[in-house]
Amino acid sequence: MTDKITAKDINEQDKTLLADLQDALANCMKCGNCMEVCPVYKEVGKEAAVARGKLSLMEGVLKGAIPLSAAFDTAMSKCVSCKACTAKCPCGVPADELILRGRQAAVKARGLHPIKKKVFALLKSRQLFDFSLRMAGIFGPLNFKKLPGKMASLARFPMPGMDYKRVTAPFASTPLRNQYPEVIKVDKPKMRVGFFTGCTINYMYTDVGQSVLNVLKENDIEVTMPSLQHCCGTPVYMSGDVDSAKILAKHNIEVFDEYNFDYIVSACGSCTEAFRIEFPHLFHDEPRMKEMTERLAKKTYEISEFLIDVVKIDKSKLGPVNTTVTLHDPCHMARGIKVTKQPREVLKSIPGLKFVEMKQPDRCCGSGGSFSLGNYELSRKINDKKIADIASTNADLVATSCGTCRMHLMDGLHQNKLDKNALHVIQLLDQSYKAGHKK
């Protein structure tokens, strides 16, 4: 590992990687507006942590003013990819994406963070991935100490990349897709949808997957969970390993295209964003893949969005769930696919449920996909602010639409000694349907 890699060196490997960014970077007028919203900058307080600083560093590398050093990597890794800067930027600079490109450059130059490297090597082989996560599930009770009451447990043995104190969801003893047949039939199906489970739901939060299946069944929808689906690749992509991300994406696209579903649903903002935005982006210059990806992108929906906009659920079937709920908007829902109304509509249609809005519900929870693997302390600080906002609503529980957020919120609630639960929006809807049957 050397500190002396320059833009010239990377460009010898990949002539376009950073160089074609020059125009995009030049559009940043350095107004500093991104300072207002960047959760990482708010904690770190240094220019290198805010989008403006990170973009400048990339410019500096391109100009040859500074080397592509380990410190450059560190600066690029200090980003939760929450897109807040991009949403705020008056010049329309897609800073979050450009920062990912900065990571790619760093990855090209010297490989991934060692912990992430281990995790991602695993991700690339579907069988190996499945095997090890299932093993984790089977031996879960050994690895995790269950905490009383909640869907959370404490890692007892150090996991690669997991902070010792950190609360995570236990790996499921049986992954979701092994709990059901591939096709879940209903009488008189209204439509056929493919469920992209994503890894969090398949291996950890099977309870969310079950709720998705229940709710779709309630609405006479036939669901297929293609057995060959794999992780969407977002974490790998975020870390700058584009080649691996493309392998995963291509696999998923080909698998889902085979089935010819009416719609594809997922219960995670990032997964939806992957199908809808990232995949088409990854294959924009490969005509066959591009066409296939765009076809899938058009029919992909996040579950709340799907139920409200497409299915238009019959709210009269819902029974009471007597609890007070606040909602956290995952970054990739709020700014990625811009879905914020529908989860609220779902919650507000549940009888008995009292919905209270927290301050800045769309501010990042600090998890940032695999960001928290490498920057746990920082991600905790960001999360503490979120937890304080949740606490000040006095809600019984916080709902969200992303497994990673749920896990991080759960951890935060535990670390802050708050006896509250974090659930997926769809779990509350499932409870409401169940209560409706008892009516």
Partner: protein, 460 residues
């Protein structure tokens, strides 16, 4: 700077508050002004006045330049460390120390974000009026040092109208207090006003006593579209002549209107020569009356279209066009210069016409928007700083633009300050006697010329 200086700085503020890696230094080589970047030798961030004082003493004894920095959002290269040395980052001094309701003043440290001060006092029904476009990011210290203004400058003025007292550290490290909580205070030279707007060249501000004012109870926004620029100018004069001082009286020229329309589709006619956005605020009854009078003035001066906002949603819609002005222009080309030339308010149409013909003659893109009520215009030049041939034309246009402003009896800056950006025209505006007096003040307070050297009054 030498190694032992860095070590001494670390002794003062602690290891982690001195940044020296190439990456960190690069991140403090710029501010929001295009084309002036330069690397410092160290970035030092003190926690309090004492540390600030020790840093300055060290710098002064060793002739190390010091560039004080808040959020680095200024548009005059004010905190670019053009001669290397220390960037003194004030953002760790970020506490609101006191909100004194009996005297209606707040005491705060310089690193407090202006919007955060306003959030804190909003619940008390008070405001701190200076509201630059960057309120949500700029620091109190930076706005005081720049004498920043904002959209409500016409009625509420700029920073200097709200600063009652300061604690500052002088170049040699001495700590000095000016002013205080006294509403009336004519004891001695007005050092508070001298330091307000001194752009980091005379002192480092470490504490600020601000005046607070009651928040207006009601607001009313109106928009008028003019196909004839002179009519717009006459409407502005008529409003003022009717003895109405709106909080906001904004104008956009045709180039800006076309750009905004293309980008935000807010429904502005492309052939309009000016759009005025006016907001009156205050007591609800007075606001209603004033709004009526403004509407009359607009109609009497042949506005081609007028609209008054009935509720908050409509107010937001009217504001949308003005808010889109800078983003829309900034998106056209990579480099954006937001200039700040100001003319007496009855000269606004003349100035707009001059700018548009200068733009045409030099083949550069300039959209002008700004505060018509106080004559503070923001001609915004968009270009690509990487194209040397284009930049020659841009610099020539800038030159002609500032000369035009000065010839109309105007000033180089209404709120952004001088820094390095406007320095070339200072002598033209002020003449040698004034420049000499200003330089004498600089030399008296900073004999070793360590504070933001070369800025505002130039080399001494």
């Amino acid at each position: 700077m030498e190694k032992h200086h860095i070590n001494a700085l670390k002794e003062i503020v602690g290891e982690e508050n001195v940044l020296t890696s190439a990456e960190d230094l690069y991140c403090y080589s710029y501010d929001a002004t295009p084309g002036h970047a330069h690397m410092p030798d160290a970035v030092v961030s003190p926690a309090n006045t004492m540390e600030t004082s020790q840093i300055l003493k060290l710098a002064n004894d060793n002739r190390i330049p010091v560039y004080t920095r808040g959020s680095g959002t200024n548009l005059s290269a004010g905190c670019v460390p053009t001669k290397g040395g220390i960037v003194l980052l004030m953002t760790r001094l970020n506490k609101i120390l006191e909100v004194d309701l009996e005297n209606l003043v707040a005491v705060a440290e310089p690193g407090v974000i202006v919007a955060d001060l306003n959030k804190e006092i909003a619940t008390l029904g008070l405001i701190y009026p200076p509201d630059p476009g960057t309120v949500a990011t700029a620091t109190l210290g930076g706005t005081v040092a720049e004498n920043a203004g904002g959209l409500r400058g016409l009625k509420y003025g700029v920073s200097k109208h709200y600063i009652m007292g300061l604690e500052v550290v002088l170049a040699n490290g001495d700590i000095m207090n000016t002013g205080g909580k006294n509403v009336k205070d004519v004891s001695g030279y007005d050092m508070t006003k001298l330091f307000t707007g001194s752009e980091g060249t005379l002192c480092v501000i470490t504490k600020i006593i601000t005046k607070l004012v009651p928040a207006p109870e009601a607001k009313k926004a109106m928009m008028a579209i003019f196909k004839d620029l002179d009519n717009a100018g006459k409407a502005v004069s008529a409003i003022i002549a009717a003895k109405i001082i709106p909080a906001t009286l904004e104008i956009m020229d045709n180039a800006t209107i076309r750009t905004v329309e293309d980008y935000a589709k807010v429904g502005l006619p492309l052939d309009a020569q000016a759009v005025l956005l006016i907001e009156v605020d205050g007591n609800p009854i007075v606001v209603e009356k004033e709004a009526e009078k403004v509407m009359e003035a607009l109609k009497a001066n042949h506005a081609d279209f007028v609209q008054i906002a009935k509720d908050d949603a409509e107010r937001d819609k009217l504001w949308a066009a003005r808010r889109a002005a800078l983003p829309a222009l900034a998106k056209l080309r990579p480099t954006t210069y937001v200039e700040d030339a100001t003319v007496p308010r009855n000269k606004v149409p003349d100035f707009l016409r001059a700018v548009s013909s200068i733009a045409k003659a030099n083949n550069v893109t300039i959209g002008t928007f700004g505060h018509a009520g106080d004559g503070n215009m923001h001609p915004t030049i968009v270009c690509d700083i990487r194209q040397p041939e284009e930049m020659k034309r841009v610099y020539k246009a800038m030159d002609e633009m500032f000369s035009a402003a000065i010839e109309l009896g105007g000033t180089l800056s209404g709120e952004h300050g001088i820094g390095l950006g406007k320095l070339p025209w200072m002598e033209q505006q002020h003449g040698p006697v004034t420049m000499n007096a200003m330089k004498s003040i600089k030399r008296a307070l900073d004999p070793n010329l360590i504070l933001n050297p070369g800025k505002l009054v130039g080399e001494c």
